[in-house]
C-alpha cells in the first residue's frame, strides 16, 4: 500500500522537485513530507481505477494498455479507485 505524501495533495503547489507551498497554510513543505489532516488526494494515475501497476517497476504502470507512471496527473477519464 502506497503511503500518501504532500506531493499527492491537491492543495500543494509544487515549487520544485524537493519542496512546495501548502495553499492552505501558505507554508513551505517538503513534497515528501507525510500528509496532514487537511490532505485532499489529487487526481493521479496511481489513484485511478484503470491503473495497473507494473510488477517489474513500481514507477511504471499501464492504463488501457498505454504506459503511464503513478504520479502522472489524472486525465479526463480519471475514476477514483475504491
Amino acid at each position: 500500500m502506497m503511503c500518501d505524501k504532500c506531493k499527492d495533495c491537491t492543495n500543494l503547489s509544487a515549487r520544485d522537485v524537493f519542496n512546495g507551498v501548502c495553499l492552505i497554510s501558505k507554508e513551505t513543505v517538503s513534497i515528501d513530507a507525510p500528509v496532514c489532516k487537511k490532505f485532499v488526494r489529487a487526481d493521479k494515475c496511481k489513484y485511478c481505477s484503470k491503473y495497473i501497476a507494473s510488477e517489474k517497476d513500481s514507477n511504471l504502470g499501464t492504463c488501457d494498455g498505454d504506459m503511464v507512471y503513478p504520479d502522472l496527473a489524472g486525465c479526463e477519464d480519471f475514476i477514483l479507485a475504491e
Binding site: 503547489s13 509544487a14 515549487r15 522537485v17 524537493f18 504506459m67 507512471y69 504520479d71 502522472l72 486525465c75
Partner: protein, 881 residues
C-alpha cells in the same frame, strides 16, 4: 611551481580603483508582492516535469498515419490539455511552463538522447557527430537553482535539472520510443548526403563547432508577434483557419495548407484548454481562500483567464496575461530559446493608456505587475544537454526593446516604457533583458532613465543603434521586398539578432523568424589547424588533409587561414541545410507560426517560409578577437621581427608556455595561472606574444587583421544559400560559448594559455589587453561595417565610481552616443567593482541576488559557471570614462 597573475603584460584595471570596494550607485527594492515571488524563485530548484512529453508521445503514437502536420497538431493539443494548472500565493500574472516554478520539459521528438545513460548513448553511430566532445570540456554552474547532484528522491540530469525518481523510468521509455525517429537521431542521416559529411564529424570531435543546433535549440532568436492574437483572440484565429480551410479545400494543390490550418486549430484548442484549467483552478482557490483581498485577486484572475482563452484582450491586464500565455505556449511547443517580447511596451501601450485615462489602473499597480512579470520571465527554463546548457549559460534570452521609432519615423518612446525600466531597476531579475533602440529622436529623459537602470549593475539596458538596425534590415531583407515601415519596426530577437518588424495598421508587430540554431564556430581552432597542418593539437583529430605547407610570408599563412575558415563555413552551412530539412517534418512550430506575421494567411508555418521575412539562417563565431590578436602576434614576431620561428611557436604553444592548463588549475582567466616549467626561451616567446598589438587599443596593426577576419567570415557565410534560397547571415556574439570553446583550445599566439576562456562578445577586447582607455575600445570596435552583420556585440566593465552622479551619467551617455555615431551597433555594460565579484566567488551565499552581464544577457552570479566568472572578474575594469 610559480603562480602568476600575468600582470607584467596585462592590466585588468584601466585607471586606479577606489581603495574601498564600492557598491552600485542605484539600489532599489521590489514591491512586496514581487519580492515574495522573487524569494520563491530564489528558493526554487530547476525541475523537469514529464507531463508534456508523456501526452505528446502517447497521442503521437495513437495518431500514426495522419498527415505529419495534423499528427503534430493533435499531439500538441493533447500535451497542452493535460498540463496541470499551478497558481502560487501572491501571483497576479499566472501560468508557468508546467507545475514547477522553474519547470522545464524535455522534448524528446527533438532531442531524445541526453536523458539516456552513457551506455545507451555510446551505442549510437559514431557518424552522428554527437555533443559528447563539447560536453567533456563544458563546465557548468553549480549554484543557485542548479541541481548538480542526485539525491535518493531526485536525479540530477545534464548536471542542471532535478527530476523526481518516480518519473525517470517513464521518461526513459519515452526517449527510447523516439530513438531513430527524433530530429536528433534522423537529421544527421540527412546530413550524410553531403560528400564531406565526415569532415563535419571531425569538426564536432575537435570542438571546432559548438553543438548540434539543427535540432537542439534550433528555434528562437526571434520576436514574438502579438498583434494577430490581440486582434482576433484564440477563437478568432481558429475561426480564420476554418474559413481558409473552407475556401481552399476544393483546391487539390492546397492539401498541405489545409493540413497546416487544421493542425493549427488543434494546437490552439490545446492552449485554450490549458488556459481554462488555470481559470478553473483560480476559481477553486477563490472558493477556499479565507483572505478577502486575495479572494478578489483569484476571482479577477479566473475571469481574465476565461476571457482570454477565446477573446481578444479588452484591457491592459488581459493583454499582459495573454502575451504571457503566448510566450509560454511557444516555449512549451519547441525546444528553443530567445523568443523575445520585442516592442512589448509599445504593443501594450494603447491598452494601458486607455486604462490609465479612465482610472481603471494606477501607475503603482502597473509597476507592481510589471515587476511580477519580470519574475515570471526569470523563472523560464529550457531543458537541453549539458553542452548546450554551457553555451546558453542558463539563460532563455527574452529581450524587450524600448524606444526606437514608430513606422512613421517619429520617436516611439512612451510612458509605459519608463515603467518597464523602473521595474528592472526595482526587481533584480535576469529576464526579460532590456535593450534601448538608440535614436537621436529619443528624449534625454528617456535615455537618462536607461542610464539609471545601468547604474544598478543589472546589465541592462543594452544599447543598440536604430540606424544600424534599419540599415541592416533594408540591406539584407531587400531581396524579400522589405518596406521602410517594417524596417523601422525592427526589434531584437533573442539576445541580439536584428529582426525586421511587421506593421499592422501602424501598430508594431514582428515579421521574421530564426529557424537556425546558434551554430558557433570556434575561430581560434581554425588557426590551430593552420599551424598544425590540419590536425587539432588537443585531440589529434585530423580535420583537414595534410599539405606540409611551409609559410614564407604572413600573407601565405593568412591565405590558408581564410581558405580553412571558408571551408569550415561551407561544410557547416551545406550540411546544416540538409540536416535541418529533416527536422522540418518533426517539430513544426505551429503556435509560433500562428502568431507570426502572414503564416496563417499563407497557409505555411515558419519552417516553410510562411513568415513575412525569411532570411534568417545564421552562423555565429566565437574567439575572433583572440584570433586577430594571435595573427597580429605571428605577423609581428615571426614575419616582421623574426623574433622566433613558426616551429618554435608551435612547440611553445603545445607546451602551454610552461604553464599548467587551466583545465587542471581550475582557473580560467589570465589573471591567475600557474607555471610549472621555467624555460627562458619559452618565457621570452610568451612575453613577445603578450606584448604584440592587441585589438581594443585603436591600433591599426591588429585592427586591420580583425577586419580581414570579419570580412572573410562575412563573405564565406554569404556564399552559401539556405533552404529558402536566401543567403546565410553572419553574426558576431558569444553568449556563453567563449567558456567551453576556450576550454577546447590550446594556448594561442596572443599569449592566452590553454583552456582559458576566450574573449566575450564580438568586439570585446581580451581581458586585460585594452590599455588605451574606453574610447580606444570604441574606435577598434567600429572598424567593421556593423550593418553587414545580423548582430555585433561589445561589452565593457565600468567601475561604479566612474559613472557616479549626474556628471557620470552624462559621460556614460556621451560614450554611448559616440559609439553609435561612429557606426557601432551594440554596447552593454557591467557596472561593478571587480573586487566584489571576487568576493562573491569566494562567498556565493552572500550574493544570491548579484546580477552580472555576460554577453547579451544578464545572469545571477551564482548561476554563472566558473570559466565565465573568471572571465568576468578579469574583464578590464574602467575607472574613468
Amino acid at each position: 611551481m610559480e603562480a602568476t597573475t600575468n600582470d607584467q603584460y596585462l592590466c585588468f584595471t584601466c585607471g586606479t580603483p577606489p581603495e574601498e570596494v564600492e557598491d552600485r550607485e542605484v539600489k532599489k527594492t521590489a514591491c512586496p508582492r514581487a519580492a515574495k515571488l522573487l524569494q520563491e524563485f530564489y528558493d526554487a530548484k530547476i525541475s523537469l516535469d514529464t507531463t508534456f512529453p508523456y501526452w505528446y508521445t502517447r497521442t503521437w503514437i495513437k495518431e500514426e498515419g495522419q498527415h505529419p502536420l495534423v499528427r503534430r497538431g493533435l499531439a500538441m493539443k493533447s500535451a497542452f490539455s493535460h498540463l496541470e494548472a499551478a497558481i502560487r500565493p501572491d501571483e497576479i500574472l499566472v501560468m508557468s511552463r508546467n507545475k514547477y516554478v522553474r519547470g522545464a520539459s524535455i522534448t524528446p521528438w527533438t532531442a531524445n538522447e541526453f536523458p539516456l545513460s552513457d551506455e545507451e548513448r555510446a551505442r549510437k553511430d559514431s557518424k552522428k557527430a554527437s555533443n559528447k566532445a563539447l560536453e567533456e570540456v563544458t563546465i557548468l554552474a553549480t549554484g543557485g537553482g542548479v541541481v548538480s547532484e542526485s539525491t535518493p528522491e531526485v536525479l540530477s540530469m545534464a548536471r542542471r535539472y532535478g527530476m523526481r525518481i518516480e518519473e525517470h523510468a517513464a521518461l526513459i521509455e519515452i526517449c527510447r520510443y523516439w530513438q531513430n525517429k527524433s530530429a536528433e537521431d534522423t537529421c544527421w542521416k540527412w546530413g550524410t548526403l553531403h560528400p564531406e559529411y565526415d569532415t563535419l564529424v571531425n569538426f564536432k570531435n575537435a570542438v571546432l563547432m559548438a553543438a548540434d543546433m539543427e535540432y537542439g535549440n534550433r528555434h528562437g532568436r526571434s520576436v514574438t508577434n502579438y498583434q494577430i492574437v490581440f486582434e482576433k483572440g484564440f477563437q478568432g484565429m481558429i475561426d480564420r483557419c476554418k474559413e481558409l480551410i473552407a475556401a481552399n479545400v476544393g483546391d487539390g494543390t492546397a492539401v498541405d495548407k489545409v493540413a497546416y490550418w487544421q493542425a493549427t486549430i488543434y494546437a490552439i484548442e490545446g492552449v485554450q484548454t490549458w488556459v481554462r484549467k488555470y481559470a478553473s483552478e483560480a476559481t477553486r482557490l477563490a472558493s477556499i481562500e479565507e483572505d478577502a483581498e486575495q479572494k478578489v485577486v483569484y476571482e479577477a484572475m479566473a475571469a481574465r483567464l476565461e476571457w482570454i482563452s477565446s477573446n481578444p484582450p479588452r484591457d491592459f491586464m488581459e493583454a499582459l496575461q495573454l502575451h504571457w500565455t503566448c510566450q509560454l505556449e511557444v516555449y512549451n511547443e519547441m525546444q528553443g530559446s530567445g523568443f523575445s517580447p520585442g516592442r512589448l511596451g509599445q504593443v501594450l501601450y494603447p491598452y494601458w493608456k486607455e486604462d490609465i485615462d479612465k482610472g481603471s489602473i494606477t501607475r503603482e499597480q502597473t509597476l507592481e505587475v510589471l515587476e511580477c512579470m519580470r519574475v515570471k520571465y526569470t523563472e523560464l527554463e529550457i531543458a537541453t544537454c549539458a553542452g548546450t546548457t554551457g553555451i546558453l549559460a542558463g539563460n532563455t534570452f527574452n529581450n524587450i526593446c524600448l524606444g526606437g521609432v514608430k513606422p512613421d519615423g517619429s520617436s516611439a518612446e512612451n510612458e509605459l516604457e519608463y515603467l518597464f525600466i523602473q521595474a528592472a531597476i526595482n526587481c533584480p531579475t535576469v529576464s526579460p533583458t532590456l535593450s534601448i533602440i538608440y535614436d537621436g529622436r529619443l528624449s534625454n529623459a528617456f535615455l537618462q532613465k536607461g542610464i539609471e537602470c545601468n547604474k544598478t549593475g543589472c546589465g541592462m539596458p543594452a544599447w543598440v543603434s536604430n540606424r544600424v538596425g534599419i540599415e541592416y534590415c533594408m540591406k539584407n531583407h531587400s531581396c524579400e521586398g522589405i518596406t521602410l515601415e517594417d524596417a523601422r519596426a525592427w526589434s531584437v530577437g533573442g539576445c541580439l539578432e536584428i529582426q525586421p518588424g511587421a506593421v499592422y495598421d501602424n501598430k508594431i508587430g514582428a515579421g521574421s523568424y530564426s529557424s537556425s540554431g546558434i551554430n558557433f564556430i570556434n575561430v581560434p581552432k581554425i588557426l590551430e589547424l593552420v599551424l598544425f597542418d590540419g590536425v587539432d593539437p588537443r585531440t589529434n583529430v585530423r580535420v583537414f588533409p595534410a599539405t606540409g605547407k611551409k609559410y614564407e610570408t604572413f600573407d601565405e599563412l593568412m591565405d590558408t587561414f581564410k581558405a580553412y575558415f571558408g571551408k569550415v563555413i561551407q561544410i557547416f552551412e551545406e550540411t546544416y541545410n540538409m540536416k535541418v530539412s529533416a527536422t522540418f517534418e518533426l517539430d513544426q512550430p505551429l503556435l509560433f507560426s500562428a502568431l507570426s506575421a502572414d503564416c496563417i494567411e499563407k497557409g505555411a508555418d515558419i519552417d516553410h517560409a510562411g513568415s513575412r521575412y525569411n532570411r534568417c539562417f545564421t552562423t555565429w563565431i566565437t574567439g575572433q578577437v583572440n584570433t586577430a590578436n594571435s595573427l597580429a602576434s605571428i605577423k609581428k614576431n615571426v614575419f616582421d621581427d623574426n623574433a622566433f620561428t613558426l616551429d618554435e611557436l608551435k612547440d611553445v604553444l603545445l607546451n602551454n608556455f610552461g604553464f599548467i592548463s587551466a583545465l587542471d588549475t581550475g582557473n580560467f582567466s589570465m589573471m591567475e595561472q600557474t607555471k610549472n616549467v621555467s624555460d627562458p626561451d619559452w618565457e621570452r616567446i610568451h612575453a613577445l606574444c603578450m606584448r604584440a598589438p592587441k585589438f581594443g587599443n585603436d591600433d591599426a596593426y591588429v585592427d586591420d587583421i580583425y577586419v580581414q577576419v570579419a570580412d572573410c567570415f562575412l563573405e564565406s557565410v554569404e556564399a552559401i544559400t539556405d533552404v529558402f534560397g536566401n543567403k546565410w547571415c553572419a553574426s558576431m556574439l558569444s553568449v556563453g560559448t567563449h567558456g567551453p570553446l576556450g576550454q577546447a583550445d590550446i594556448a594561442s599566439a596572443d599569449g592566452r594559455l590553454a583552456g582559458v576562456t576566450l574573449a566575450d562578445g564580438g568586439q570585446s577586447p581580451y581581458p586585460g589587453t585594452d590599455q588605451n582607455g574606453p574610447y580606444a575600445v570604441l574606435s577598434s570596435a567600429t572598424v567593421i561595417d556593423h550593418t553587414n552583420f545580423k548582430n555585433t556585440q561589445l561589452n565593457m566593465k565600468l567601475h561604479p565610481a566612474s559613472i557616479k552622479g549626474n556628471m557620470g551619467s552624462a559621460k556614460m551617455l556621451d560614450m554611448i552616443r559616440s559609439f553609435m555615431d561612429n557606426g557601432g551597433f551594440h554596447i552593454q555594460f557591467n557596472v561593478v567593482d571587480s573586487r566584489m565579484l571576487k568576493d562573491a566567488q569566494e562567498n556565493p551565499n552572500n550574493y544570491r541576488d548579484l546580477l552580472v552581464r555576460v554577453a547579451g544577457f544578464t545572469q545571477y552570479w551564482c548561476e554563472v559557471s566558473k570559466p565565465i566568472q573568471d572571465e568576468l572578474i578579469a574583464r578590464t575594469e574602467y575607472e574613468e570614462v
